[in-house]
Symmetry: none
Subunit: 199 residues, 4 copies
Amino acid sequence: MVKDQLLIKKRREQMIKAAVTLFIQKGFHRTTTREIAKESGFSIGTLYEYIGSKEDILYLVCDSIYDQVSENLKKRLKQDVEGIDSLRYAIAALFRVIDDLQDEVLVMYQESKSLPKEALRYVLQKEFEMTELIQEVIQECVTKGHLELTDQEIYQSAHNILVQAHMWTFRRWAIQNKYTLDEYTEIQTNLFLNGLLKK
Amino acid sequence: MVKDQLLIKKRREQMIKAAVTLFIQKGFHRTTTREIAKESGFSIGTLYEYIGSKEDILYLVCDSIYDQVSENLKKRLKQDVEGIDSLRYAIAALFRVIDDLQDEVLVMYQESKSLPKEALRYVLQKEFEMTELIQEVIQECVTKGHLELTDQEIYQSAHNILVQAHMWTFRRWAIQNKYTLDEYTEIQTNLFLNGLLKK
Amino acid sequence: MVKDQLLIKKRREQMIKAAVTLFIQKGFHRTTTREIAKESGFSIGTLYEYIGSKEDILYLVCDSIYDQVSENLKKRLKQDVEGIDSLRYAIAALFRVIDDLQDEVLVMYQESKSLPKEALRYVLQKEFEMTELIQEVIQECVTKGHLELTDQEIYQSAHNILVQAHMWTFRRWAIQNKYTLDEYTEIQTNLFLNGLLKK
Amino acid sequence: MVKDQLLIKKRREQMIKAAVTLFIQKGFHRTTTREIAKESGFSIGTLYEYIGSKEDILYLVCDSIYDQVSENLKKRLKQDVEGIDSLRYAIAALFRVIDDLQDEVLVMYQESKSLPKEALRYVLQKEFEMTELIQEVIQECVTKGHLELTDQEIYQSAHNILVQAHMWTFRRWAIQNKYTLDEYTEIQTNLFLNGLLKK
DNA sequence: GATGAATGAGTCTTCATTCAT
DNA sequence: TATGAATGAAGACTCATTCAT
């Protein structure tokens, strides 16, 4: 196996990019390691200098996607917004991040089940942490008195919002030709908030 | 190919049952036709008397699941409930149906993407029709003045409800150990309705 | 896997014959499963209907050779010969059997080390049993008073005789162009016996 | 390719040592060049500065083992022993040398067949020369009248003795847990000589 | 002289599908 | 109708060897 850490990083990025492209087109199982190597720009031998098995690629892909989503989301959440708008803003931010990484997210949604058990657990953990980011924003709104929700409702709302973000990709056939991302964001935010605002 | 229609039906049901069991355990791609034949109780030769290719099995499975969900849901929706409760009732019914067919729904969620294009279109069409069932219930509430929603909101709400039903299965790792189906139903219904009721 | 036991036996015999031919020529590791299939007269797919892995073939080969050697030897040992001649006869019989199965024995000598652990143990056990056959003949001569040997000497003599039989194959480059099997048998018998006869 | 002869010698010795260790553990074919390089303490690139192909390593190993055995044996044979004892002594010396280089000898026994033809011939030549060393000792005993043997018997006896020495390694599973090297030496010497001494 | 990243031919093995019985 | 033996294309992965630095 190759030693140069920088090279490893570079090559793996090449692989991940190639893999996402191919997984989108044909799914994980129908994509061959040779195809990934070719799309990555190197030989099958070289591919295996950087991974141990085909499943490793799927893992790298999932891991990288989470990191990207997470990083981008955190970057956006830093903005200083107050009150109920902080939640509005968070939802919009999340939706936008997912929209930007649409293909990647879709791949992860469809293929992560093929991960070996241990890796799957790890990936689910990341999904959990992402949900918590949203949960915290909601919690803050509740704490500050802008929303009135039970703990269970907070927890479930966070999951709902995340799934609604993912929905934008995995149900694109039903949604994306109906409205733009901005419209979608507004509709979902309204549906969600109108019921939660104190009356 | 076999001609006796009754036999065809019987054999296909055997296959579908076997396939669902196996797809749940190992996914479509990791399940072999031989395994399906064995689990079905007949030989690989016989299997191919009733299907043309492995993908046909996946199609049969998906088709059958939709029919079951659809049929069960329609049965439940027949109940005569009035006003906003009709929607409450519809949500509960949907959630219950999905819960009953949990494994099947999960398989469809995870594997339908492997369907050949034509078959996928057909299956999505069924998903559409299912959404319309919910949409109609919402629409009725709006028409009758129990809810105030734009057309887009109606459309999106129907999708949301359906996805929330599916969520109960594909996010079970995060939800099913938190609350029972009844609790889940109540939480989701509250979150949804409290915002939609006229104030 | 194929069910018809008779067919399994037949196919495996084909495989074993093909494998011995090839292993002799190029050794186990340099022989591919495809070559074995081809030489056996069927496709690679069919080959794997009758074995689980390449190592299985080696095991089948070794097992079969032992059975052949053993069977042939036992057949020959049945002859009714008395006194010290029973030993002379046994040695000659053993040498002849090994000579008949020269290639097979050589393969086993050179390749059995590549057997997976468990299989190796099993094969060594068979080698042991074969040695015991010789040991018994010697023992009988001692018991009857034709030879005077300690237990250790009996044990070691049996091993020596067996190795001398194998030697005829694995040292053929030094021996077989010097004398015929009959001559070899006589020389070895003399060298061995002349020292053991009571003086 | 490197030119410094001293360095070549040093590097090759490192390689041989590493290779023997690994060949013992896993055999020639299952050992990779990378592993040999690593165990040798240098890179795969460096390895190929000192050899042309993997087979070269096997050749170096075999050649080196013969040289060691041969050298050690000759050293021991120098002792001044007279009469039949010279043969006793030679046998003991040979057995001891082989015992000292047990692993190496075993490797050679099991793997030399994988040598390319030309190299194999060369190695067999060395084996021949080694046999001749023993042959000479026996011949001397015959010439001096201590033993009475035909030429063929002399030739074969030398081979027998050598194979008995090797047997100590390749049949260790049956012998080494029965008696010590000294006991083994005594048994074999007795079995051999008692028949050859003039009566 | 030493390094180690890159290569790709070659290997074992799987599995959907066919077809004679 | 049912069976299951036969097929071979295709896939994951290995490893001896090269060569630019």
